[in-house]
């Protein structure tokens, strides 16, 4: 118990005094996981949209496969990406193994299924009559798709947040692809694992707190971004008093 209490007080000191090691690890974590989230979103939203808006043979199978991959273990993704990126692997010539960029690639692959699956669900949750209404109002196919995506914005936002959450909290890919090299590829989760093993609890607790604070800030920012970006006619939100 005293470990925990002294750990927390030392952790707060580490954070308040802006300990350079802590900051560096936190910054790298944010860089890697946000990049992976952004990349995954750029891939998952359009492809999820394509899957949702098109009828094709085997659509249900594809969606089931995507949903199955929600629970793919991070170490399995780590293993596959490791094999691809290793010197003798097919992508070895990029030299991405044990680099932050390699970790971004690994986390992107890890979170694409969950993001894509939830994007498809979010789009599917938009009422069928909305689609008819848009067509009837004279929307082109593209105009209709844009409106439906906007209509599903909160669901899509949840997909992105969940993807980010999975990326920043995972250890398998970060450890296997990054290698937990101090000052190079050490991120919050791998550092916590290592420091805890070495008995350095205050450092681990400090990193744990930071991890949660980052998650909070990112979620708040994404929420603000969605409500702001899609509702430039902000008066619609406050509105006139009800009769």
């Amino acid at each position: 118990m005293s470990d925990i209490i002294s750990g927390i007080s030392q952790a707060i000191t580490l954070i308040v005094t802006l300990n350079p090691d802590v900051l560096e690890i936190a910054a790298l974590s944010i860089y890697i996981s946000l990049s992976a989230t952004l990349l995954a979103a750029c891939i998952s939203i359009p492809i999820g949209g394509l899957i949702h808006f098109h009828e094709f043979y085997g659509k249900k199978v594809v969606i089931t496969l995507i949903q199955t991959l929600y629970s793919v273990p991070t170490v399995v993704v780590g293993l596959i990406i490791y094999l691809l990126l290793s010197r003798s692997g097919p992508l070895g010539f990029f030299g991405l193994l044990f680099t932050p960029e390699g970790m971004i690639l690994g986390q992107t692959v890890l979170i694409i299924p969950i993001m894509m699956g939830l994007v498809i669900s979010a789009l599917g949750g938009v009422d069928r009559t909305i689609r008819d209404t848009l067509v009837s109002l004279g929307a082109t196919g593209f105009q209709g798709v844009i409106q439906i995506v906007k209509e599903a914005r909160y669901g899509i936002l949840s997909a992105v947040i969940l993807g980010f959450g999975r990326a920043i909290s995972e250890v398998g890919v970060a450890m296997m692809i990054g290698g937990n090299i101090n000052g190079e590829t050490r991120v919050l989760t791998t550092a916590i694992a290592l420091q805890t093993g070495m008995g350095d609890f205050p450092f681990s607790i400090a990193l744990g707190i930071i991890l949660l604070v980052i998650a909070l800030v990112v979620v708040v920012c994404l929420n603000l971004l969605t409500s702001g970006a899609f509702e430039k006619f902000g008066q619609g939100r406050t509105g006139a008093p009800r009769e």
Binding site: D127, T129, I130, D132, T133, L134, V135, S136, L137, G138, A139, T140, Q143, Q147, K150, E151, E231, F233, Q235, G236, R237, T238, G239, A240, R242, E243
Partner: protein
């Protein structure tokens, strides 16, 4: 303006529309009435080009809509539709109303004025900045109408626009519809299961049943001269009897019906087997022994005994057994005045001209 020939629509194995021929003239209000599930919605969706017909042809202003070279988007942009369940997008009321103009690439500077005009027309301008999903059902339906008319469509389709609305909201919507037709010369096709509404709004009515257009004509034709028993029942004729014409004096016919003689006006010949339709509000009831001189034009006096009285809004539906069951619709007050109750002996009075006679159909 619209010409359908032999239109059919099949979903899977279900034939929803079974061959409809229909012609709509520019500027008219046409109402489609029919029971729920008869195919009204599907027909409107076909007309709005949201569905492709399985068979038959659909010409809009001489343009064949099934011709692969026809630009359906351009055609659809000349029409507008209000759906039974109003779907508003999750944004402000004014944004919702502006969609049609935005999709057509209208100059953004003129959009606010047009939105104002459309919202004022449905009486909702004061809610322009409200979030559309927070509106009541009636308000949402009016937003949907404003959204549909803002593009000045040549034709407006309305699918049960007042279903599930309170009477006051329904009245507002009906007057808006009439005004749009009168002032903008917009052709209107409206589907409803409310016959009275169909009659209030339009002169040209089509009855659709089981995927077929079974009768087309004026309100009077459909309410008083239904062509089949099914239509008669749908338009509120409770009493349908079968009989044989025994004697004729000109068009005046004496018809043997369940052991009695009913007089009616028909051009059908003596000896013909016929159906008689009696609208319940055309049947009067009086007590035996009291001859009402004001009713001298009533040719049929059928004695009987009341079997059943059921409240029907401000009226009472009274079923009288006169050898066959005849239903009368009386105000509650007149029921009380006559002290009517099940078992009371009464005389059912029916004018000869109020009996609609057709050749017998099954």
């Amino acid at each position: 303006m619209i010409k359908l020939t032999g239109i059919t629509k099949t979903f899977g194995k279900t034939e929803v529309i079974r061959g409809i021929d229909l012609e709509i003239r520019r500027g008219e209000i046409f109402t489609l009435i029919g029971p729920s599930g008869c195919g009204k919605t599907t027909l409107l969706r076909l007309l709005d080009l949201l569905e492709t017909p399985t068979g038959g042809t659909y010409h809009f202003e001489d343009i064949d809509t099934q011709d692969p070279s026809t630009d359906l988007l351009a055609l659809r942009r000349r029409m507008a539709m209000v759906f039974q369940k109003p779907a508003v997008l999750n944004t402000s009321v004014q944004e919702n109303v502006a969609f049609g103009l935005k999709f057509r690439g209208v100059d953004p500077d003129v959009i606010p004025d047009r939105v104002r005009e459309a919202l004022e027309r449905v009486g909702l301008f004061h809610l322009a900045t409200r979030r559309a999903i927070s509106l009541s059902g009636g308000e949402m339906q009016r937003v949907a109408i404003a959204r549909a008319i803002i593009t000045n469509p040549e034709i407006l389709f309305l699918d049960e626009p007042t279903a599930n609305l309170d009477p006051i909201s329904s009245d507002t919507i009906e007057s808006v519809i009439k005004e749009i037709n009168r002032e903008s010369k917009t052709t209107i096709i409206l589907a409803t299961h409310d016959m009275a509404q169909g009659q209030r709004l339009a002169n040209h009515i089509g009855v659709i049943m089981d995927g077929r257009l079974v009768q087309e004509g004026t309100g009077h034709d459909i309410f008083y001269r239904p062509e089949t028993q099914a239509i008669a029942r749908f338009v509120g004729i409770d009493t349908i009897l079968s009989g044989t014409i025994t004697r004729k004096e000109g068009d005046h016919a004496f018809i043997a019906v369940c052991g009695r003689t009913i007089e009616a006006i028909t051009s059908l010949p003596q000896g013909a087997n016929v159906n008689l339709y009696l609208r319940p509000e055309e049947v009067s009831l009086s007590l035996p022994g009291i001859i009402d001189p004001g009713r001298s034009s009533v040719r049929n006096h059928l004695p009987g005994r009341i079997t059943n009285i059921v409240p029907f809004g401000p009226f009472e539906r009274v079923t009288v057994d006169c050898g066959c069951a005849i239903t009368a619709l009386l105000t509650r007050l007149s029921c009380e005045d006559l002290h009517l109750s099940p078992g009371t002996e009464v005389i059912a009075g029916i004018k000869a001209s109020a009996v609609h006679v057709t050749a017998e159909v099954p």
